[in-house]
């Protein structure tokens, strides 16, 4: 609309450097909410912002508000371990995760915003004969879907990650690994910020500190949302609220097959570069990469109990550190800097729901569990299509809410490696 952002370039960088970086334009506006919108997106995380961006860019829908109860990208978008990969077993999963990875590959250019995509490779380790056979089977299935994946021997793993303990005498010896070279990491905040800036430039209103407290129905359809900043009318409502999806579904009496759990992660003090790939292990259960700042970014499994608290129990951290040291004894004296939790919305089949609902004009995108960040652009892409056309995109058709009744589940438990 009228908010044409200046393009980031070497010229703008030099110009702003000469002004001591005092005059950078804000990356997005903070408008007051209007009384009415064509589309309201609930949740300004990566998925919600990507949805708004693709609605505006691909479908010409620009009268959109993205409502966020906290700050933009402050939920799971800012709390994950930034890993991106598409090495999923089932056809339905491979299709959507690979679509997301391909979008990621062009995203910095498209958004004119450096998301710092680093395709440093993702290793999934095998620690016993069964692991190795299962990984081989998965690699074959993944390659049949046109996604890059290969099997490495112990020696090849050692050559790639010299600091890993690959001794045959260790308790969980490394017998091999699968590798997706196109996998890696991206700067999670930048993904949210880039999509926010891109959506804002196309006229989308991003409204922070605006909590949705109720969804008003109108017969078989929706009329709008009650928020902490008043009632806002909307023709269509897309809910992308991750861990709080059940709370929002409850507002319209919809039951979801979702349970919210804490997922904890932690980062170490920064050290010199020692790890230039992502290492994941399902058997000892840890995943680790090294950030550009030098911190190790470490994650593992969810806490078992339901929670909305963004924190979990200590023994889960203890377990993932134990697993880390099993693989990397060199890290034994490393100190941890920060530890946090996010609320992940877990589906019984560990696959998401990107779907219309029985209520006309109400759409849900949820159930990503622990694997949401890697699909951010793909999720937004198909959800935008679902909302704009009022029917699912080919890629998210299998991810409907009815699959729990039709029993057409997409069972990605152990999805290509770690818990999910």
């Amino acid at each position: 609309m009228n908010n044409k952002p200046s393009k980031y370039s070497i010229v703008s960088l030099v110009r702003n450097a000469l002004n001591y970086h005092q005059n950078w334009q804000e990356a997005w506006r903070s408008p007051e909410p209007k009384k009415e919108y064509d589309v309201i997106i609930v949740g300004a995380g990566g998925h919600g912002l990507a949805t708004a961006y693709y609605l505006a860019k691909e479908h010409g829908v620009t009268d959109i508000a993205v409502l966020e109860k906290g700050w933009l990208g402050g939920g799971n978008t800012g709390r994950n371990t930034t890993i991106i990969r598409s090495n999923y077993l089932w056809d339905e999963s491979a299709a959507i995760y690979e679509h997301a990875l391909k979008l990621y590959e062009g995203l910095s250019q498209e958004l004119n915003y450096n998301i710092m995509l680093s395709q440093r490779g993702v290793l999934n380790l095998a620690h016993n004969l069964h692991d190795l056979r299962e990984l081989s089977r998965r690699v074959n299935a993944i390659r049949l879907n046109g996604v890059d994946s290969e099997i490495l021997t112990t020696e090849q793993v050692k050559a790639m990650v010299p600091i890993m303990n690959t001794s045959p005498h260790s308790r969980y010896p490394v017998l091999g690994a699968s590798l997706q070279r196109r996998g890696g990491t991206a700067r999670h905040d930048a993904v949210a910020w880039g999509f926010a800036r891109g959506a804002d430039a196309r006229g989308v209103d991003i409204i922070q500190n605006c909590e949705v407290t109720g969804i008003k129905r109108n017969g078989a359809g929706v009329e709008g949302v009650q928020t902490s900043r008043g009632f806002i009318k909307a023709k269509k409502i897309g809910v992308v609220a991750a861990g709080h999806s059940s709370v929002l579904a409850d507002m319209v009496g919809l039951r979801l097959p979702i349970e919210s759990h804490p997922l904890q992660a932690l980062v170490s003090e920064p050290i010199k570069p020692v790890l230039d790939t992502v290492v994941m292990s399902a058997a000892v259960h840890v995943y680790v990469s090294q950030s550009d700042k030098g911190e190790l970014v470490i994650g593992a499994g969810i806490d078992s109990y339901n929670s909305y608290a963004q924190r979990g129990s200590f023994q889960v951290v203890q377990h993932q550190i134990g697993a880390l040291l099993e693989l990397f004894p060199i890290f034994s004296r490393l100190r941890m800097l920060r530890q946090w939790g996010g609320i992940v919305d877990v589906c019984p089949d560990a696959s998401p729901i990107i779907s219309k609902t029985p209520i006309k004009g109400l759409y849900f995108n949820c159930g990503w569990g622990t694997g949401g960040f890697k699909t951010t652009p793909g999720s937004g892409w198909v959800f935008a299509h679902t909302i704009a056309q009022d029917r699912p995109h080919r890629l998210n058709e299998p991810y409907n809410l009815e699959r729990f009744s039709t029993a057409y589940l997409i069972d990605e438990h152990g999805a290509a490696a770690v818990a999910h």
Binding site: H244, S246, V247, D250, R255, L256, P257, I258, E259, S260, S304, Y305, N306, S307, Y308, A309, S313, F314, Q315, P348, F404, S405, T406, A407
Partner: protein
């Protein structure tokens, strides 16, 4: 880490227990008479409340018995522990 009061063994650390999810889900008497939607509701749909939650735990590394707990999913405070055949506390809204 949670401190859970097993009705038989008393206060123990969380890592002695396993979590069993939402409590009081009753298996339908005549499953063959249910529609697919009703069966899916029994199998998959969950309350997942933000606040008081009635849930099952088992003292896996202790007496190995199951029991129910009322726990707040925001504060993690345990407000009641009761046996499998007992009714949930009256304070509970769920």
């Amino acid at each position: 880490m949670l401190l859970i009061k097993c009705p038989w063994c008393g206060d123990r650390d969380e890592h002695e227990f396993s979590y069993g999810g939402e409590a009081h889900i009753v298996r339908p008497r005549d499953p063959e008479k249910l529609t697919d939607d009703q069966w899916a509701d029994y199998l998959f749909m969950r309350k997942n409340p933000k606040g008081a939650h009635l849930e099952r735990w088992v003292h896996a590394h202790g007496c190995r018995r199951w029991f129910n707990v009322e726990r707040d999913t925001v504060t993690h405070a345990i407000t009641a522990v009761y046996k499998m055949n007992e009714k949930p506390p009256r304070s509970s809204k769920t």
